[in-house]
């Protein structure tokens, strides 16, 4: 007899259940609604000091014109187009925390404490004119920061076919 006998099961039973602890160890992302933000908080002035020590070499004093790109918006009449920075191109403030924590400083990724990341986030938001010097950044306040660039972003609506978009 020739017939297709076995069919795919829904569950093969491979892999093992993940424990809460191992999920917590890897689950470092932060969503726009703040999900994923840890305890702790940050101050603009402390952030400014950390930035000068750990970031300015690559991103410039005050976050402007470093060898690895500006993080702070400036108006520079010499450039054809303004450089894209946190102040003018980042739609969500939570992304600042998420990205710095996972990837910066470039040469020592993953080395910052949560508080250091909060401080740096506070500082960069203030330097970009989005919050003032006194705003404390934490799991409650960060998701509420409205970014100037948010309204600039639209989802893709290309669909193939003859239209060039």
């Amino acid at each position: 007899p020739i017939a297709k006998v076995d069919t795919l099961p829904t569950h093969f039973g491979f892999g093992r259940p993940a424990t809460a602890a191992e999920i917590a160890r890897l689950d470092i992302d932060v969503r726009p609604d703040g999900k994923g933000l840890p305890a702790g908080e940050g101050q603009v002035l402390t952030g400014k000091q950390i930035f000068a020590a750990k970031c300015a070499a690559c991103h410039g004093t005050g976050g402007v014109d470093g060898p690895n790109g500006s993080l702070v918006t400036t108006t520079n009449p010499g450039r054809k187009r303004p450089e894209k920075t946190i102040g003018n191109y980042w739609p969500y403030a939570t992304t600042v925390f998420d990205y710095i924590r996972r990837a910066m400083p470039f040469s020592q990724p993953g080395s910052l404490t949560n508080d250091e990341v909060y401080h740096l986030t506070a500082y960069l938001l203030q330097a970009n004119g989005i919050i003032d010097e006194k705003t404390v950044i934490n799991a409650q306040t960060l998701p509420r920061v409205v970014m100037p660039a948010q309204k600039l972003f639209v989802p893709d609506d290309r669909k193939g076919g003859s239209e060039i978009k």
Partner: protein, 397 residues
């Protein structure tokens, strides 16, 4: 000596010595190298990628057919290529699932597997600016492999993805801990958690031991060195999908225009159809007479339906021959045999994909998106054939 020049170390040792001098004058008079464990590349072949620190471009002008040799597949990474012990690497799937699970690489290989030949292209794959650019320089951030892995949908079923999950985060195990948000639909459709490429394990540069592979989508979404998938009811708005891999649409520049039409497009997953003539192309030269114009064409939205070639600077177009197999979301080789009369001209190619999308001109792209060359730029590219047979790229004015 013969054995020596065919090995990698031989190549190094012989640097500066003409390999040709070391060879027997008549290869039929001397026994050759005996069979070995791993084959070699001829020392006469100097085909290489063009690297910067963060990417390296495939030498499209040196390729034949549609498979990219794995060690010449383009590279793009945001913090280098991590060195990963596959015995220690795991993939976690969690979030909006019934049962969060951890898979070893061996676990992943036990599931039903799938293979497909498909391109992978960086959405930043277009550069222009000077005449002396090769296909590699212009758009060498695209390559093609046969990818093998487990369908992500199989893992979705295994973990029991909940019905309210609409996006998932894919996270890499490199020093950038690369992350992208992907609509769950793509996971159910055709996403692959790939562990092999062109018959063997993924190469380190391509995500060894495990990567996501999203057929037809911008390369950055196919997260390499994949360690984690989190199901969510919203996108995560990672840096890569906000500050990077977003592009202006009409009138957007300068940024921070507070009102008006300026906008940036986000989650531009699909790769628009593109073609490029890879021969004749700078830096090669041609002679008067019959020339086979060769190139590749592809679309992130399906199969290539048609490629046309113009040999009169776009005044008229002829159908090129497509080389079988013409696969879904895959580089497809085209060719057009042409008798060049030796008079200076321009040659161009344009692809139409299954959806009826016709590869645009640069000016059409500028009209639709503003005058910045940014992500997802896929213009028709022209080569000037000068009367001396030299071939130059024709960048936009």
């Amino acid at each position: 000596v013969v054995a020596l020049v065919q090995t990698a170390s031989g190549k190094t040792i012989q640097q500066g010595v003409s390999i040709s001098e070391l060879l027997p004058d008549d290869p039929t008079k001397q026994i050759g190298t005996l069979a070995g464990e791993v084959g070699t590349r001829s020392a006469f072949e100097k085909v290489v990628k063009k690297p910067s620190d963060i990417s390296s471009r495939s030498p499209l002008q040196d390729f034949y057919g549609i498979i990219t040799p794995s060690d010449l597949h383009f590279e793009r990474h945001h913090a280098g290529v991590p060195a990963i012990d596959p015995a220690k690497h795991e993939l976690l799937i969690h979030g909006l699932v019934d049962k969060p699970l951890v898979f070893t690489v061996e676990d992943l290989k036990r599931f039903p597997s799938v293979s497909r030949i498909a391109f992978l292209e960086c959405s930043g794959n277009f550069r222009s600016g000077k005449e002396t650019m090769s296909p590699q320089d212009i758009c060498g951030l695209t390559s093609q492999s046969e990818w093998t892995g487990v369908k992500l949908s199989t893992l979705f079923r295994e973990a029991g993805v909940k019905s309210n999950a609409t996006w998932f985060l894919a996270e890499g195990s490199d020093a950038a801990v690369m992350t992208r948000s992907i609509p769950v639909k793509k996971g159910w459709d055709d996403a692959i958690v790939a562990y092999a490429q062109n018959g063997e394990a993924l190469r380190p540069e391509q995500g060894y031991p495990v990567r996501l592979f999203l057929p037809g989508w911008e390369g950055n979404t196919s997260v390499k060195w994949l360690r984690r998938i989190e199901l969510s009811d919203q996108p995560f708005m990672t840096r890569e999908e906000t500050s990077k891999y977003t592009e202006p649409i009409k009138g957007a520049e300068p940024v921070r225009r507070s009102d008006g039409p300026g906008k940036y497009r986000q989650f531009s997953f699909d790769i628009d159809a593109r073609s490029i003539i890879t021969f004749p192309a700078y830096p090669k030269t041609v002679e008067k007479g019959w020339i086979e114009i060769r190139g590749i064409a592809w679309s992130g939205r399906g199969k290539v339906a048609r490629v046309e070639v113009s040999t009169d600077a776009g005044k008229s177009w002829q159908l090129a021959t497509l080389q079988e197999p013409i696969l879904d979301k895959a580089h497809t080789a085209f060719r057009y045999v042409w008798n060049w009369n030796g008079v200076e001209t321009e040659i161009l190619s344009r692809v139409t994909d299954e959806t009826g999308y016709l590869q645009p001109t640069l000016n059409q792209l500028f009209a639709a998106r503003g005058d910045t060359i940014s992500y997802h730029f896929n213009p028709i590219t022209a080569w000037r054939i000068k009367s001396d047979g030299s071939v130059l790229f024709k960048p936009e004015p």
